[in-house]
């Protein structure tokens, strides 16, 4: 059992962000990112929404993908750039500071895979819908979306257990950073509403975390 609400505390210090999130989450998010990176094939065009310090972008670039990654925080993008230089992946990863509200600038049907981890839960419901709409738009037919995030557990018992663990963390995070995250109500449903076919949903952390993979149907295929 764990909640990622703590990560809001660590965002101010990109240089140690990954290591500290890892320490509090016990390797969980890294394992999820590896699962996502396994979906990528050499030569794929990949878009990452909210790349943070670029950990997942590195994993995907090492598998031979061409990654375009953006983040709303310029600080994070700078940290990610430094990392790409260190990993000698500058030519495989394009980084840009960009808000979710700027996603309409991205070209339609360009990417084979669109990925994102722990980003949607930081957005308002309107921004979530907007991000998913544009993620679906920029995806090529037959391409995949892989989103991993905090979600609302499905049973009452799991929800109670989750809240009991999350609340103290939320209180500390809120007092220090005056910010918080909001677990997603229905990630799979939101992806289906955007015209995607959900092919996989894996839950972890006491049902409070989900990795959802969805596919954009081929033109003329069944919806």
């Amino acid at each position: 059992m764990f909640s990622y609400v703590f990560m809001k505390l660590l965002e101010g210090r990109p240089e140690t962000y990954d290591r500290r999130v890892e320490r509090v989450a016990g390797g969980h998010i890294r394992a999820v990112k590896e699962q996502i990176a396994n979906l990528v094939h050499p030569g794929d065009q990949v878009l990452e929404i909210g790349c943070g310090t670029g950990e997942l972008a590195v994993m995907m670039a090492r598998r031979g993908a061409k990654v375009t990654a953006f983040d709303a925080s310029e600080q994070m993008v700078r940290a990610a750039r430094t990392r790409m230089v260190r990993e000698k992946l500058e030519d495989r990863v394009t980084l840009e500071p960009l808000e979710v509200s700027g996603m309409d600038r991205l070209e339609s049907a360009t990417y084979d895979v669109v990925v994102s981890t722990l980003v949607l839960s930081e957005l308002s419901p309107d921004e979530q819908r907007y991000a998913i709409k544009h993620a679906a738009r920029v995806l090529r037919a037959g391409g995949h979306i892989a989103f991993a995030d905090e979600v609302r557990p499905r049973t009452t018992w799991q929800r109670l257990r989750y809240q009991a663990v999350r609340f103290p963390m939320l209180a500390v995070t809120y007092l220090v950073s005056r910010s918080s995250t909001r677990p997603l109500e229905d990630l799979s449903g939101q992806l289906s509403n955007a015209g995607l076919e959900v092919t996989r949903e894996e839950r972890s952390l006491g049902d409070a975390f989900a990795l959802v993979v969805a596919c954009k149907p081929q033109e003329g295929g069944k919806r």
Partner: protein, 359 residues
């Protein structure tokens, strides 16, 4: 839940109280109805909705992390980014046929009108400072009177902000009295009520430009009274002495940070922290910001007339009339002494003609 939030937002407004962001309907708006932007502080949205009763408008609630327009804009929580995101993701573009958004002028320190225009393609206009002026503003075909552009600090506003900001602290003190010196609780509550009403009721007429100067004035009077009571003791001096000492302390606490209560007063607390060399508490920064530099006199608000095109962007947003148009319609730095260093003019100036020059 709503009652809890309303109470919390009123009495504990030092803490953020967020409400859902996004598009709301007031009345029965059509695709031609005006679009107003505000922050997502629960109490602001509640009061704004009440002031707009009877109107048909779209209300676009943008992210400010549950803080009011003025504080969130000065603290960069309510900014260009929040407004751009609200316009593009809320669905307002499908709901209306026009492309004009009315922004709250007390948000001008954080929201750059020309950046919003550039990033969204929408036109922007600054609305009235106070929510209660909005119906008159809309009826006057969106023309603002001079009074609508200026921030005020009326009796009701003083009592409202002071009660809302000081309540958490004084309730803790009252609890401490209840626990450790219950026999003094009555005196404390009586003195609190009296000093509160005297200080915030008479605030504009108490001598002194800064809160602490007003406190010095009042405490000097009380000090003389205390000396009189000590040296010429009538029969019942003890309670009088207790009340006088409590009143002196309470005046100091009431007046310690007037700037934190009103957009018409410059902060005393921030420059003090900056002078003490404190960089930040949590997300609130002190030393090294343009704002505090202006307040401690390390920088000076400067108008570079050669670069100025007299577009009036600064005149439109300054809530205190620091900027104005001269007889020849050219923009002039009219009342520098009234400036509270919110930096709205610096944010808006398209020519970079307004700067905070190091002294």
């Amino acid at each position: 839940m709503n009652l809890f939030k309303a109470t919390w937002g009123f009495l504990f407004r030092l803490f953020p109280c967020p409400t859902e962001t996004g598009l709301r309907k007031i009345g029965n708006p059509s695709e031609e109805s005006p679009v107003l932007v505000t922050c997502n502080f629960y109490t602001t949205v509640q009061r704004l909705s009440r002031a707009l009763r009877g109107q048909d408008v779209w209300l676009l609630v943008a992210e400010s992390r549950g803080v009011n327009v003025w504080c969130a804009a000065c603290g960069n929580e309510f900014n260009t980014r929040s407004v751009v995101s609200a316009i593009k993701t809320s669905g307002i573009e499908e709901a209306v046929s026009h492309r004009t958004v009315i922004l709250p002028p007390l948000g001008a320190a954080g929201i750059s009108a020309r950046e919003v225009e550039k990033q969204t393609g929408w036109h922007t206009r600054w609305g009235p400072v106070r929510a209660r002026d909005i119906p008159a503003y809309l009826n006057a075909r969106r023309k603002r009177t001079e009074a609508m552009k200026r921030a005020t600090y009326t009796l009701v506003e003083r009592l409202d902000t002071a009660l809302g900001s000081l309540f958490p602290f004084y309730s803790l003190v009252a609890l401490a009295f209840l626990g450790f010196a219950p026999h003094l609780l009555g005196y404390f509550l009586l003195t609190l009520a009296l000093t509160f009403l005297i200080f915030f009721g008479l605030c504009p007429w108490i001598p002194g430009k800064h809160g602490w100067q007003k406190v010095l004035f009042l405490d000097a009077i009380l000090g003389l009274a205390l000396a009189a009571v000590v040296f010429w003791p009538p029969a019942t001096t003890r309670p009088v002495r207790t009340i006088l000492i409590m009143a002196m302390l309470l005046f100091a606490l009431h007046g310690g940070e007037l700037g934190g209560l009103s957009s018409t007063w410059a902060s005393d607390f921030d420059p003090l922290m900056a002078r003490l060399g404190l960089r930040a508490i949590g997300n609130t920064r002190f030393a090294g910001t343009t704002r505090t530099d202006l307040l401690i006199g390390a920088r000076l608000l400067t108008h570079n007339t050669e670069d100025c095109s007299s577009c009036g962007a600064c005149v439109a947003v300054c809530p205190l009339g620091v900027w104005d148009r001269g007889p020849d319609r050219r923009v002039v730095l009219e009342r520098r002494e009234a400036c509270t260093a919110c930096c709205a003019c610096l944010t808006q100036c398209p020519e970079g003609a307004i700067t905070a020059q190091p002294v």
